[in-house]
């Protein structure tokens, strides 16, 4: 008997051997409660109706599936389409998840929210959701990311969130997750932790995937309506893996659709120079779940590097680990330089300034389109817009703003 790949996780949070809950006992009860509350909400039509209404009138969904004519021409092969998450309110896919989790926070009667952020997009999306519903919001962010993403830090503060700098470790996303988990350890009775990707202990990877699946569901319908068939390829960038999980999940049982996740190849394949967890990692435990991790022989997490703060993470969601081992999804890496080039190509040819995270997916799509025939369609998740990145890109290109 073959079981559908979409029929995961099981009740204990297992995606095959991946996932589960590797967290201190202090958090276990809250995770059980959250799982129950989420199951109840999922079956409650009024919850879904409220979320749909917010996604439509506040976030701006459905966003378009856009045929990138000039980029397609430039590549001279497959047709490239973009799912425009950059057109969402706040400019990235992260808001799909924070809206859902904010509604859950209120269902649980909690008034305080914590979140972690790398690029700042999830921090902003959390601050927005909290402002919208009157919840207290604290965002943990590595000092290095605070430097790289000043605009988003300012935006979060304007919306009433408190941004707490994290100066331990590499001062990036992974350290922000550690710090948020610690806060949650002592505040779990009053506080919900809105995790920003498909990572962490069960039920987070499942729940965040579900909230982000709106991306793939819309893309699937739009593709059928606009091209008359399912896409031949779907491409998305992978940090923790939420935009890609949301994009891929509705296509998982469509065997003819090739799915590719693009990780941060950084400066190259040497340890510490990239954040390509699925290409170079080994099975292990990080941040409460079991999956691929970039680690040394002792199980210590390794330092990672990426030009993009949102992809700079040494782990990946357990469902991606499952998809990798099952062979369903193909994972690859794009270097910093290739991503920068993807960023510029997109800006020049399409008049869209993409997030540097999304630029990884774009750079790979350009390669894939060149290999494809003109009757093939390639759908790329444009996970966010690049306003937050222009200062950093200018610095890297040696230009003044």
């Amino acid at each position: 008997m073959t079981t559908s790949l979409s029929n995961v996780p099981d009740a204990s949070g297992r995606f095959g051997e991946f996932g589960r809950r590797f967290v201190p006992e202090t958090l276990m009860h809250a995770l059980e409660e959250l799982t129950q509350e989420y199951e109840k909400a999922k079956q409650d039509p009024s919850f879904q109706a409220e979320l749909d209404d917010l996604l439509k009138h506040y976030v701006g969904r459905p966003n378009p599936l856009y045929f990138a004519e000039r980029l397609t021409e430039h590549c001279g092969g497959g047709k490239i389409y973009f799912k425009r998450e950059d057109l969402n309110h706040t400019g990235a896919h992260k808001i799909n998840n924070t809206m859902g989790q904010a509604l859950l926070t209120m269902r649980m009667g909690k008034k305080r929210v914590i979140a972690e952020t790398g690029a700042g997009q999830h921090g902003v999306a959390s601050a927005v959701a909290c402002a919208r519903f009157g919840l207290e919001c604290i965002v943990y962010m590595g000092e290095e990311d605070i430097r790289r993403q000043k605009l988003n830090v300012f935006n979060m503060k304007m919306m009433g969130a408190e941004v707490r700098g994290v100066s331990s470790g590499s001062k990036t996303l992974r350290d922000a997750v550690n710090e948020a988990m610690r806060d949650w350890m002592s505040s779990v009775e009053t506080t919900h932790y809105i995790i920003g990707s498909v990572i962490g202990p069960h039920p987070f990877p499942m729940m965040v995937r579900d909230f982000q699946s709106v991306i793939g569901k819309e893309a699937r319908e739009q593709c059928l309506a606009q091209t008359g068939k399912l896409p031949d390829q779907v491409i998305a960038c992978v940090g923790g893996g939420s935009n890609s999980a949301g994009m891929f999940y509705p296509f998982i049982d469509d065997e003819g659709v090739k799915l590719t996740g693009v990780e941060a190849g950084g400066r190259g394949p040497e340890p510490g120079e990239h954040a390509s967890t699925l290409s170079y990692g080994a099975k292990g435990v990080l941040h409460g779940s079991f999956g691929y991790v970039l680690q040394d022989d002792d199980g210590q997490t390794m330092d990672v590097h990426s030009i993009s703060a949102g992809l700079d993470y040494p782990g990946v969601g357990p469902e991606h680990s499952y998809w990798k081992d099952s062979g369903r999804v193909n994972y690859t890496a794009i270097t910093d330089d290739e991503a920068l080039e993807g960023f510029q190509t997109m800006a020049r040819l399409e008049g869209i300034i993409p997030a540097i995270e999304s630029s990884h997916a774009i750079a790979y799509a350009v390669k894939a389109a060149r290999q494809a025939s003109p009757d093939e369609t390639i759908v790329v998740c444009l996970s966010g817009r690049g306003d937050k990145d222009v200062n950093e890109v200018a610095r890297l290109l040696g230009r003044d703003i």
């Binding site: 590797f22 006992e25 202090t26 009860h29 992974r174 610690r182 435990v285 991790v293 002792d298």
Partner: protein
């Protein structure tokens, strides 16, 4: 010969005394110092010693212990080197080493290979392990492996653990139950919460295993509060913070070890009441 955890608690019970279990981070600032501190703690008559394995991404630990992990890792801590150093120490007949309990993240155990880890830990003289990120529900197979390696697997119970969970958890536990005093991370607190007593009483009705309290304890007054209610207590951050002094150029290594020993001696005396 190392003593087992249950022997230790049984002896202490017959003497009507609580167990004092200091926590230190292995390899902070280096393994030679760890060995010397273990010798000093043994001389001060502590009852068990919890040896923390430095981990890059601890989530149950507060800043003091995290910084200590970072110091050890920056100095090139490796699990295998610790096992080698402890094997030598356990064999040293001039040292009366108490039962050693390893505090180690499952991330490390899994990567090392659970069976290899357990074998080397037992050979190094550990009597039991605490795996803070492996809650009772997830422990299944690992419980069997630790039994086979003749090690105790200590389970943690938090003030937020409901009774039905607690019942399940204590069933798979051995050695002692680690009662987390406060919902939160490790770190010194001024006062222990008032609910702790009731929590210990309810635990007592659910298990015959010794109850040891940890997280937040630092002073003899805290110990007085626990007397008659708990079988032992664990002190981490209050000891570990003293290890920062090893990098202070104005203090000699011997002075720092002596001052850690002095504090441990005072706390050991407090158990005798």
């Amino acid at each position: 010969m190392t003593t087992s955890i249950s022997e230790t608690f049984a002896t202490l019970k017959s003497e009507n005394r609580m167990a004092f279990m200091p926590f230190i981070t292995a390899g902070d600032p280096d393994l030679a110092t760890t060995v010397d501190v273990l010798k000093e703690l043994s001389r001060q008559g502590v009852d068990l010693i919890e040896v923390g394995f430095p981990y890059s991404d601890p989530i149950a630990d507060g800043p003091v212990i995290q910084e200590s992990y970072t110091r050890a890792l920056n100095n090139g801590f490796h699990v295998h080197d610790l096992f080698e150093a402890l094997k030598e120490l356990s064999a040293d007949e001039s040292v009366d080493l108490p039962a050693l309990v390893g505090m180690v993240s499952y991330a490390i155990i899994f990567r090392y290979g659970a069976e290899r880890f357990l074998k080397e830990a037992a050979d190094a003289g550990f009597s039991g392990l605490i795996v803070p990120d492996l809650p009772g529900d997830e422990a299944g197979e690992f419980v069997e492996l630790t039994k086979a390696a003749q090690l105790d697997l200590v389970q943690l119970v938090s003030p937020l653990t409901p009774e039905d969970r607690t019942k399940r958890i204590v069933q798979s536990a051995s050695g002692f139950i680690y009662c987390i005093a406060v919902a939160g991370t490790t770190g010194v607190r001024d006062e222990l919460p008032a609910e702790l007593t009731a929590h210990l009483e309810s635990l007592r009705s659910l298990t015959d295993l010794p109850l040891a309290v940890g997280f937040g304890i630092s002073k003899p007054e805290h110990v007085d509060t626990l007397r008659g209610k708990a079988d032992g207590f664990i002190i981490g951050s209050a000891i570990v913070k003293q290890f920062a002094a090893f990098s202070d150029p104005d203090q000699t290594r011997e002075d720092v070890i002596a001052s850690i020993g002095k504090y441990a001696g005072e706390m050991a005396a407090a158990t005798k009441g």
